[in-house]
Subunit: 306 residues, 2 copies
């Protein structure tokens, strides 16, 4: 039991915040955990479940006397929250966020924070397709990466302390520059999500193939896309609006490549297809070796392998 | 124990054929199971594992006296196999296949078969990203759909018997017309696979984001794509070459839709993005209710939910 912070305030009580609350409690990392959410319904559910010691009606009240404040709201809501809490933050407090985009969060949050707090942007590379206060669990961050994008001049001691918190919750903490973060995530997260949403939308739209056929025969590949396309719509709308440039850049590369393969199909160039499909196997092996996915067939969804 | 066929010949010994062998044995559905594969290495592995009673060096030998012959080779190899086995098929035998494409398989196989056999094209909507004779397991077809696309004039008794075989192996058997099959699968399988291959290829190519970063931060969505992009390259090359029209049609719809979302990102139209992302959630609920996927977060890859 290493108590790192006396009072942690969670602003927003969805999957990430509730999972943090469970993980911090399990390890005794925080003296007190308090929270707030914009919706009264979410606050009531959080009170009922009890993963925080106290739930406040406003962010301004929640951050009072907190030495760590975590902004866990959709990226588009960060600016208003920062503006609200700015005047109420304790001297020496650390403010961090868990947004999937970093450049625009920094620009939205930093101007509203007083000089006497430490702002350390962060992003846990962890999540599920479920959202809301009922979806959290302590193991969410186990063996997942946590990216810190500290700004110039940030107190190294405070960065080290926040690093310890995430390490204790199970994460592998790494640092990278703000803009590089946004490009990396455009590749490993934002573009894949947009493509999954699109594919699911197309399937839903195709009139000759009924919904029920799309659902029944989904085990042939399609169902994998539906998981990430079931993610929180508000969160993802904000991600795309706030990581516009990097997402559009990667999307441009994607369509270029897709057109090349489409042309190979049209012209019957089997060699090009075979070569392309052969070299994409290596990445999956790397991901499994890095402990970032299971090697069980079909993500282990099917019964035991003989 | 209901023995339905006296002697089943499996042509090709990959994931599907080996899984069929395990499933038929478990239920005593076949008197004898024999097999063959083009590669000597595959035949040796199959002999070593022993999921067939006998492994022959050629398809011509394997089909002798069989009352059921299953063509379980890549779609592009079907024609040559049909030509080879045609003269050796027993009178009254049923010939079926497990190809992911139906129109071109029918055209490739049917002309080479003698009139005294029953040709019933089929397609199990089941599989994993693993391939080869070591990847099979008896449960692969449990609660998965099996599509039969019988041709006009096929003996209904033989269709019923093949239906029983698949039902006993755990499948839900349905029938549909050949061309409709190819469109449905272009939506639920072929296009999703091409998109996954493309996304993984793009990630591999982006020089500023190193391979190691793509791998480390893959849990943010990308890793889901790498599973289907690890599927057998020969099989998938053949699928695209032989279901060209339907795949290109669905791809056309996909890029149209993707461009619309890309435009919404560029112009900052958050409402359009939110609406799109909201309506794609319903399909996943349908798939889970239909028993075609798990409701566990992250396909159940993470530890127990609290």
């Amino acid at each position: 039991m290493t108590q790192l912070y006396d009072r942690v305030a969670l602003i927003g009580l969805g999957l990430i915040a509730s999972s943090m609350a469970y993980a911090m409690r399990e390890k005794g990392l925080a003296g007190e955990i308090v929270g707030t959410a914009r919706s009264a319904e979410t606050r009531d559910i959080a009170r009922e479940i009890g993963f925080c010691d106290e739930i406040f009606d406003t962010a301004a009240e929640a951050v009072k006397d907190a030495d760590l404040v975590i902004l866990a709201v959709p990226v588009g809501a960060m600016s208003a929250i920062a503006q609200e809490i700015g005047p109420h933050l304790a001297a020496g407090a650390t403010v961090s966020d868990v947004g999937s985009v970093k450049r625009e969060v920094v620009e939205a949050v930093q101007p509203h924070l007083p000089d006497h707090v430490h702002f350390i942007p962060s992003h846990p590379i962890a999540g599920t397709e479920h959202s809301g206060p009922r979806s959290g669990f302590a193991e969410l961050f186990q063996n997942r990466f946590l990216l810190l994008t500290p700004l110039e001049g940030t107190d190294p001691e405070q960065v080290a302390k926040l690093t310890s918190l995430w390490t204790e919750m199970g994460s592998n903490v790494e640092q990278m520059p703000v803009d590089h973060h946004d490009l990396v995530l455009a590749v490993t997260s934002h573009t894949p999500h947009l493509i999954a949403y699109t594919m699911v939308g197309v399937a839903d739209d195709l009139r000759r193939v009924t919904d029920s056929e799309v659902i029944k025969y989904s085990a042939a590949g399609f169902r994998d896309f539906t998981r990430i396309a079931a993610s929180d719509p508000t969160m993802w709308r904000d991600v795309f609006l706030h990581n516009k440039e990097a997402t559009l850049e990667v999307l441009g590369r994607f369509t270029e490549e897709l057109f090349a393969l489409q042309r190979a199909i049209r012209t019957g160039d089997g060699d090009q297809l075979f070569d392309y499909f052969s070299h994409t196997r290596a990445i999956r092996r790397g991901i499994i070796e890095a402990g970032q996915d299971t090697s069980a067939p079909d993500f282990g969804r099917i019964g035991t392998k003989k």
